[in-house]
């Protein structure tokens, strides 16, 4: 492993902070390995996004604005990524640890005969070897896992684990050739549902609601104003998503998103283990729950036992008032 390749996830050229975090981290690791830092941007909007990435410390940005990338499920992405890896030679591939990032990772691992470390929150190079820090068993264990010497390695990286810093000197943009291939899994429809203004994984504050809210309306009338006052985003437990109160992409936990905000406020959430693994690494955890014996008491910094419907509006008022005094 000598170079570092960042796989860029985006929709129509719109990307998330993780891309910039990976671009920044790629430079650091590439310097330690004595190689180049590159990124691969594919599909509609790739050229425009590549221009935007130039302010990050990358050497080369490989681009393919190929319609197949958006018309077929992941296969074209994997082909292009493989082509880049083989073109530049032994390298470490960094992929966001997201739903589709995980799919790309499992596949490119086989294409490149590479080892993989998943859900990485820190990385360093020692003695030429890449060593990754990753929480396992739902965060009950923090592991140090090395990629053994070999040509290629794959790492999926947890969003918000690394800082992003623009420090580019103008990466070279290199167009990729279209592979002469046909693909089996055609995307017939692609629907976006209620994405928040702020991506959950990037929000400095998350206000999450659970079954205790009793229906969809309190997410709008209670949680949104509180999240807005704190400059944060709204999330949910699986119970709330299963009930259809919020879309699944707001779900936090083992089958949803992993978040690490400075402040996590759990409202009417009991704190089941599958929920806990998605938020336990948050800076400060505050819970509002009617039940003082709810499991969330065991891992929150403050549990206020009381009725969310009475507490949350008052809290929003207090915060808004305090902000008013400051401005």
């Amino acid at each position: 492993m000598q170079h570092v390749i960042v796989f860029v996830e985006h929709r129509q050229g719109q990307t998330r902070k993780i891309t910039f975090e990976l671009a920044t981290e790629a430079r650091r690791i590439a310097d330690a390995l004595g190689g180049k830092a590159c990124a691969v941007v594919l599909g509609a909007g790739a050229a425009q996004l590549a221009e935007q990435l130039k302010i990050y410390p990358l050497d080369t940005i490989y681009v393919a604005e190929d319609g197949d990338v958006d018309a077929y499920l992941l296969d074209p992405n994997v082909d292009y990524l493989q082509a880049v890896a083989q073109r530049i030679g032994p390298s470490l591939v960094l992929i966001p640890n997201t739903l589709s990032g995980r799919d790309v990772a499992g596949r490119i691992m086989v294409r490149l005969s590479a080892g993989i470390v998943a859900d990485v929150v820190d990385m360093h190079v020692s003695g030429g070897e890449v060593v990754c820090v990753s929480p396992k068993l739902g965060g009950a264990l923090i592991t140090n896992c090395a990629l053994r010497p070999g040509d290629y390695g794959v790492v999926t990286v947890r969003p918000s684990a690394f800082a992003a810093a623009a420090a580019g000197s103008g990466a070279e943009i290199v167009p990729l050739e279209k592979p002469a291939k046909s693909y089996p899994a055609a995307i017939e429809r692609d629907v976006e549902e209620g994405i928040g203004e702020l991506a959950l994984e990037e929000a400095p504050v998350v206000v999450a609601g659970g079954r205790g809210l009793g229906g969809p309306e309190p997410f709008d009338t209670l949680l949104k104003p509180l999240a807005r006052a704190l400059g944060g985003a709204v999330g949910a437990s699986r119970a709330a998503a299963d009930a259809g109160w919020v879309p699944y992409n707001l779900q936090i936990g083992q089958t949803g998103k992993t978040v690490t905000p400075k402040l996590y406020i759990a409202v009417g959430i009991s704190g089941a283990i599958q929920h806990k693994v998605g938020m336990r690494a948050s800076g400060t955890i505050v819970a509002i729950n009617k039940d003082g014996a709810a499991p969330i008491a065991e891992f929150s910094d403050l549990l206020v036992v009381g009725d969310a419907f009475r507490i949350v509006p008052e809290l929003t008022k207090l915060i808004d008032t305090a902000k008013g005094h400051l401005s």
Binding site: L73, T98, L99, S100, R102, D103, V104, A105, G106, R107, M109, V110, S113, G115, I116, A118, D119, K136, L137, A140, L141, T143, N144, C145, A146, P184, A185, A186, E188, R189, D190, E192, E193, I195, R238, D242, Y248, N249, Q254, T255, K262, L263, I273, Q274, R280, V286, I288, G292, A297, F299, S300, D301, L302, L303, V304, V305, G306, I311, E314, L318
Partner: protein, 262 residues
């Protein structure tokens, strides 16, 4: 239609995982081994598709696991799978994701199927990389996070969850699917199912049957666990009983202000 479902056997997810501070190993005593919950959803999807396809349809469950855990697979048979295959071998011990996926793929190559359904994640390791890896090894189209599947002539019409919403995807068979939990809650085994499961076969295979080209186990792994430790303890915080809404709000506000979070 022939369907194969992969099932990992994992420690009970509801048991809090603890590390013995002396041995630095996971405490397994008193923790039951169960079917990985995500694979129960995969099995539920397989059973629903079998019922819909009718005819000579069959569901086979496959697991790579130590031989003594074999009987745990009866639960899958009781739920309605027709038979099971278990790959066990001391030579598999210490396999990482790469080595496990390589061995599982080789074992699956010996089975005949139109559809391979894989769980989305494992509760104990949660890499989510195995499905994509199996698709590559086996040369199958790979459609993940399915919440609804319609059978069309030799093809599948799949509705799948994405990070931002959902997609519909059409794929020819044979194919690999993973299921989202929204596919449907796994069924309970009926008493009849439990009785019937006792007579169903669990076939055993070992590495010698697979004639692998590459090594597996610790030696064949491409990653190496160096060390591990529990995260810094997160002390149990304070609990405040709120007399009313304003009192509760004030308690939170004061706490946040003390932490400079507002």
């Amino acid at each position: 239609m022939k369907i194969v479902v992969t099932v990992k056997l994992v420690p009970d997810p509801n048991a809090e995982k603890r590390i013995d501070p002396q041995t630095k190993r996971i405490v397994r005593t008193g923790v039951e081994t169960v079917l990985n919950p995500y694979d129960e959803y995969a099995l539920e999807a397989a059973l629903q598709l079998k019922e819909r396809a009718g005819g000579e349809s069959r569901v086979t469950v496959f697991s790579m696991a130590p031989e003594p855990l074999k009987e745990t697979l009866r639960k899958a048979l009781a739920m309605g799978a027709d038979d099971a295959v278990i790959l066990s071998d001391a030579g598999l011990e210490g396999s990482d994701v790469w080595a496990s996926a390589y061995a599982i793929a080789a074992a699956l190559r010996k089975l005949e199927f139109d559809l391979l359904i894989v769980g989305g994640l494992t509760d104990d390791s949660s890499t989510g990389a195995v499905p994509g890896a199996l698709a590559e090894h086996l040369g199958l189209p790979c459609v993940t996070n399915a919440r609804k599947v319609d059978l069309a002539e030799g093809a599948l019409e799949v509705e799948r969850e994405t990070d931002v919403g959902y997609q519909t995807v059409r794929t020819p068979m044979p194919a690999l699917l993973t299921t989202a939990l929204t596919f449907g809650e796994p069924r309970y085994a009926s008493l009849k199912g439990i009785m019937g499961a006792k007579k169903k076969t669990i076939a055993a295979t070992a590495l010698a049957d697979l004639a692998l080209d590459l090594p597996v186990g610790t030696g064949g792994s491409k990653t190496e666990l160096r060390d591990f430790a529990p995260p810094p303890p997160r002390g149990k915080g304070q609990t405040v009983e709120a007399a009313d809404g304003p009192a509760g709000a004030q308690a939170i506000f004061d706490f946040l202000q003390a932490k400079k979070l507002v």
